[in-house]
């Protein structure tokens, strides 16, 4: 880290700045977030107020949790594309089962497909070495199919959003969205897990050099199976939160969040090749994407143009960020 110290006079300011950024990758992200908010304030003076902040947080939170799933899987060199389907399934099952069931039973039923899909993903990737992209895409499609079958069986009973989820998803207490009650513990847990637990260490180690991990006695399939089950569980919980926010159960409820969740993790500095990254960056990445969406919405462009611009900005930001941070 201090090899710049050997020849200080030769190191230009730009290089020192880059070195600084490389050691603290969060700083450029935070700067970008502040710039986006500033642009928003300039375009619509007064828009950035307490209500707007709470609203942004509400929409950023489900994205941030799903992006947490991506962060963890990407650290091992994987990806979890089934999070959208899992979240949708949990939400849909919860909303339909709550009509006739006890809330606890409905909750357990809602989390069942999450555990199942996570287990199948984990075994497929960890034991049978199917590529995570294919594996999770496959289980995602299968899950969607099952959901369609399930929908026919409950068509008569209808659906209802439980009050608690409604409160959690949309409620605001003293200016703070209630969703933070869920998000803060989840975020703390993920950050703690990645930095301070054996399991977290293994995620990084397996993603950096699987062979080295193996020679150190790590059993790959155990780590991967646990990881994908955990990822699916988080996705399931996100689904419950999201249905409280959107309030309209559908068969593609959380699907639009899947690719942004990958983008948030990548923008946050997690390498899709594994071994590098962390959750704090991902959270800021999710905030950036949410603010960006608002920004594009107020530009009053047609939907198509908005998407094109969104894609371009994500591409540009990611490429630029990696150039700044990857100091080598």
């Amino acid at each position: 880290m201090t090899d710049t110290a050997t020849m200080p006079q030769l190191v230009s300011f730009g290089r020192r700045l880059r070195r600084f950024m490389a050691d603290r990758p969060l700083i450029p992200l935070i700067i970008l977030l502040i710039i986006l908010v500033a642009i928003l304030q300039v375009l619509r003076p007064g828009i950035v107020n307490e209500r707007w902040l709470a609203n942004t947080a509400k929409f950023a939170i489900p994205l941030a949790i799903l992006a947490g799933c991506q962060t963890m899987t990407m650290l091992t060199g994987g990806i979890d594309l089934s999070v959208g389907t899992v979240a949708t399934m949990s939400a849909f099952i919860m909303a339909t089962q709550i009509v006739n069931q006890d809330p606890t039973v409905a909750f357990l039923l809602a989390m069942m497909p999450a555990v199942l899909i996570g287990l199948v993903n984990g075994i497929g990737v960890g034991v049978f070495r199917v590529h995570p992209l294919i594996m999770t895409l496959g289980t995602s499609l299968i899950g969607t199919g099952f959901l369609q079958v399930y929908q026919r069986t409950v068509i008569a009973s209808g659906a209802r959003i439980p009050d608690f989820l409604n409160w959690l998803g949309t409620g605001v207490t003293y200016g703070f969205p209630n969703a933070l009650l869920l998000f803060v513990p989840v975020a703390v847990l993920i950050v703690f897990m990645l930095n301070r637990t054996g399991f977290g260490r293994l995620l990084y180690a397996v993603g950096d050099n699987e062979r080295a991990a193996r020679l150190s006695g790590v059993r790959y399939w155990q780590v991967i199976t646990a990881l994908y089950v955990l990822s699916s569980l988080l996705a399931g919980i996100t689904g419950l939160l999201y249905i409280g926010l959107i309030k309209a159960p559908s068969l593609s409820l959380a699907e639009p969040l899947v690719l942004p969740s990958v983008a948030a993790a990548v923008i946050g500095g997690t390498s899709i090749f594994g071994g590098r990254g962390g959750y704090t960056g991902t959270i800021i990445g999710a905030l950036i994407l949410t603010v960006l969406t608002t920004l594009l919405t107020i530009l009053q462009m047609p939907e198509g143009g908005r998407r094109i611009l969104f894609g371009l900005i994500v591409l540009f930001v990611t490429a630029a960020y990696l150039r700044i941070v990857e100091d080598r």
Partner: protein
């Protein structure tokens, strides 16, 4: 330098071939002259420059200086295709057929005539080859023979065979040698690279010996010449290095009792045949071998990376079966691979790399006790004197420091037996010394080390005892006092010990008998 000038002009004549990699000279003034109709052996110890010379001759890399004449014409060989046009065709150790194509498509790809190929395949002892078979499904030994047949089918002037008989069963090897011999009778030349004196004496007319990147001699193959060849390969280092027995050696003997590790009749495909030895507590046992004699497989099997196909391993007298490296680690056996990139998570910190084995087991997945970990890691870092200025990412460390991290990991984990595979490859002299010292220290703490090295000097510096492996067998075991360089080199080439005068060059090396003599 030709000792026996013949009237013919050489078919291939390379002189003054030089190749530098940065400051390292891989070849300096190497020469090789091959006569028509000759089978010519190319010999040299590990790192003498054989493979560099071969790569230059076949156009895989370009020489910095030197002259290569083929049939008296100077040719500029820039690519393997150029070499092929000039009539020079190699058959390498690794099979060269494209695995996903069938044999016929592979032949078309290289423009090899099919009928002569079939004829050669039959000649080489494979009567029933299905030419439509996908290369992937053909066993390795057969693939190597097919590579040879493919080369023979285009009738090259000079055929270059690199360890041709290495992975072959005896009946195929015999056929191959027969065909190669006849190749010479037909007026074509063969350059034959081999570590096996038995084959060389049966097959070759002359041998060129390389040492430290230079040609040190060309000899006619005649009875008794292997002594001269060994001397040439060793050069001035032939004088006996005196090594005194170590104190730790006595300790190991005094310990008596059960050996820490006891390997019996270990077998692994064609790579390991019947390997047996013991490793005592408090001992550093060296494994010395030429490249590719089965040492990689031996270490992998002991580390639990691959399962042996036969034989037993006992740890502290109790039989074990390793199905995963974690089983070996459980038994206190740690493996330090030669390639550091294989052992380290390069983007992670020194601390995480050293502490990696701590978290491996399922029950250690919970919160890490950071203070305690810090203490254990720091003491390992201090013990190995790792330079931690760039500890944020292991990839920023120097090679020597990286190697120290791979060893520190197992010191911190308290492994009782360390399998070190060529741990000093490509690192600086200072760090080498530190590693030697460390291994001796471990032995004095009653830990045991199995230490593979390709440098003879290291055997004498570090080991109590040397196990020599040749062709997947333990061919000799001797205490370090007797392990002077000549003895090691002879043993590594499978030559029987102390039988210079009695045994002619054509005498078969009987691994069984020498292994008995050793134990």
């Amino acid at each position: 330098m030709t000792t026996n000038p013949l009237p013919q002009s050489p078919l291939l004549d390379a002189t003054g071939v030089t190749k530098n990699y940065g400051a390292v000279a891989a070849l300096r003034t190497a020469s090789l002259s091959v006569l028509p109709g000759e089978v010519h052996a190319l010999m040299g110890a590990n790192g003498a420059g054989k493979s560099t010379l071969v790569k230059i001759l076949t156009g895989a890399i370009k020489a910095d200086a030197g002259r290569i004449l083929i049939r008296g014409q100077q040719l500029d060989i820039r690519s393997p295709a150029d070499a092929r046009r000039a009539g020079l065709l190699p058959v390498y150790q690794e099979p060269a057929l494209i695995p996903d194509l069938d044999v016929l498509s592979n032949l078309r790809l290289t423009g090899t005539p099919v009928e002569p190929f079939r004829a050669w395949v039959r000649e080489l002892g494979i009567p029933d080859l299905d030419i439509r078979e996908t290369a992937r499904h053909i066993p390795l030994a057969i693939l190597r023979v097919l590579d040879l047949a493919r080369a023979l089918a285009v009738e090259p002037d000079v055929l270059l065979l690199d360890e041709m008989t290495a992975a072959l069963p005896a009946n195929l090897a015999e056929k191959v040698l027969e065909v190669v011999r006849r190749q010479g009778d037909a007026g074509r030349s063969v350059i034959f690279i081999s570590h096996r004196f038995v084959e060389i004496s049966a097959l070759c007319d002359r041998a060129t010996v390389l040492r430290d990147g230079a040609t040190v001699g060309v000899v006619d193959i005649e009875p008794g010449v292997e002594e001269r060849i060994v001397e040439m390969m060793l050069g001035t280092r032939i004088e006996k290095t005196r090594v005194t027995a170590r104190a730790a050696n006595d300790l190991a003997v005094a310990d008596g009792g059960r050996p820490r590790l006891s390997v019996r009749n270990l077998q692994l495909g064609t790579k390991l045949n019947d390997v047996s030895f013991d490793l005592a507590n408090g001992e550093v046992a060296g494994v010395f071998a030429l490249e590719g004699q089965g040492q990689d497989e031996l270490f992998a099997a002991l580390a639990g990376s691959i399962r042996p196909t036969g034989g037993t391993i006992d740890v502290d007298g109790a039989p074990v079966k390793f199905s995963h490296p974690s089983d070996a680690i459980q038994a206190g056996i740690a493996y330090v691979p030669g390639d550091r990139a294989e052992a380290l998570a390069m983007q992670r910190s020194v601390r995480e790399n050293i502490a990696l084995p701590f978290s491996a087991a399922l029950r250690k997945w919970g919160p890490i006790r950071m203070r305690r970990e810090q203490m254990v890691v720091s003491s390992a870092i201090a013990r190995l004197q790792i330079d931690t200025r760039a500890q944020g990412e292991v990839q920023r460390l120097s090679g020597g420091n990286q190697q120290k991290v791979t060893i520190a990991r197992w010191i911190a984990a308290g492994a009782r037996t360390i399998l070190c595979f060529d741990p000093t490859r490509g690192i600086d002299v200072g760090t080498k010394q530190e590693i030697y010292k460390l291994l001796r220290e471990l032995a004095s703490q009653n830990k045991s080390v199995l230490f593979y090295t390709s440098e003879m000097e290291e055997v004498q510096r570090v080991c109590d005892r040397v196990i020599v492996i040749f062709g997947g067998r333990v061919v000799d075991t001797f205490p370090v006092e007797e392990a002077d360089e000549a003895a090691l080199m002879r043993a590594a080439y499978g030559l029987p010990r102390g039988a210079k005068a009695d045994v002619g060059i054509l005498a078969e090396v009987k691994p069984g008998s020498s292994a008995e003599a050793a134990s």
